[in-house]
Symmetry: C2
Subunit: 208 residues, 2 copies
DNA sequence: ACGTGTTTTAAATTTATGTTTAAATTACTT
DNA sequence: AAGTAATTTAAACATAAATTTAAAACACGT
């Protein structure tokens, strides 16, 4: 990843605008004309700086990947000397806030969600670089909570149960907002959701 | 929804082919040329029968919605006199099989998943007709399991925890397959997943 | 078999969008 | 300040895709 400091300001403003629009509309629906209009650069700028739309998209993913990585450290801010349950709580809380909070750092998650449904070829690298590390972090915590009397398969499934709960609240926003007659999550909502998932998951793991 | 019987055979074959390709590639990436090629009709047939690509897409959603509805009855095959926990087991099992089993009836789920990420305007009706009924069915079961000492909010959150777990196994397939070095779920895998989610969720609800 | 309405076809048209070009402008170096 | 490289611009270009058209083929009741 090219550090932001060394990137041309115009190139960076393209990536910023592009990320917003890609996250809203997906790769195909997004036109280079719309991106250039949003950040007020000439239509030819994308090809000038990035070669073509596709390379610009990849640069955009990396740009937001690095923003997300800055915002949430690799270890999710988990204290290695905390108890397993505390670690799990911290993980869930951090993950949920990263998914649901408004702001630049959530764009990467949205772009990632699109890649799942409509992979562009960038997915393999993203899974390796961004998703697997978080998955393995969580599954190591789950193993600690469950103790050593359980199989890898059980750990894996429980890890997925927790991730699934978290991701639902982002992926199913169109339903949730319709059920609740709202169209955002408040800070309070997010807190409640995180607490619920922590609670629900610990209950399940405790008696596993 | 126009019953299949009254639909022109050619129109129906277009919807069949279209559904497969839309589910694979999404609305934008799918071209009318490709659909017409797949079902061996002339390029103009889509406009002739449906007016334009967009109306054909809507007809396609309805077509597969009705196929899915035929395959899985409205009540998920739940026996009203079963115990709450048995009802929950049946619901999860049915839901997971519907999501993960290969076949026509899963296409609707895939199309629905795309709508979430990239709504085309059909989403409102789909939420009302297909999603809310299932959601309310599950939440009524969750309420039975939890008993009456819990708030609507708690019931709602637990319902989402269960749905989230189930949907993860479809939405996160690109990760799961990479973690497991496979690219399908076997019948056995699906059974294990369903059992796990039932187990995990009942443990959580029991101690709620 | 005739005629009418429907369906099918290949080709033409239109539109949207990514990309290239070449000239104009700006920034930088000596 | 002159000259060179980098950037910006508007316009042109290319391509791919949806849509339309009009003629041909077909189906079917009389």
């Amino acid at each position: 990843m090219i550090p932001a400091k060394t990137m041309k300001p115009k190139a960076e403003s393209i990536l910023e605008a592009a990320g917003e629009i890609f996250a809203e509309q997906g790769y195909r629906k997004t036109t280079v004309r719309e991106i250039c209009k949003r950040c007020k650069v000439n239509l030819a700028a994308i090809n000038y700086y990035f070669g073509d739309k596709d390379h610009m998209y990849l640069a955009c993913l990396k740009h937001y990947q690095s923003i997300a990585a800055q915002k949430v450290p690799f270890n999710f801010g988990i204290n290695p000397s905390a108890s397993p349950k505390e670690k799990l709580s911290t993980f869930i809380q951090t993950f949920i806030f990263r998914l649901l909070e408004e702001g630049k750092q959530t764009l990467f998650g949205k772009l990632l969600a699109r890649e799942f449904i409509e992979p562009t070829g960038a997915l393999d690298a993203l899974v390796e670089e961004s998703i697997k590390p978080s998955f393995y972090l969580l599954s190591s915590i789950v193993r600690e909570v469950l103790g050593n009397n359980c199989t890898d398969q059980e750990v894996e499934l429980c890890t997925m149960s927790i991730l699934g709960q978290c991701l639902y609240f982002r992926n199913a926003q169109p339903i949730i907002f319709r059920l609740r007659n709202k169209d955002t999550f408040s800070e309070e909502d997010i807190k409640e959701i995180a607490e619920h998932i922590i609670n629900f998951s610990l209950k399940a793991l405790d008696n596993y």
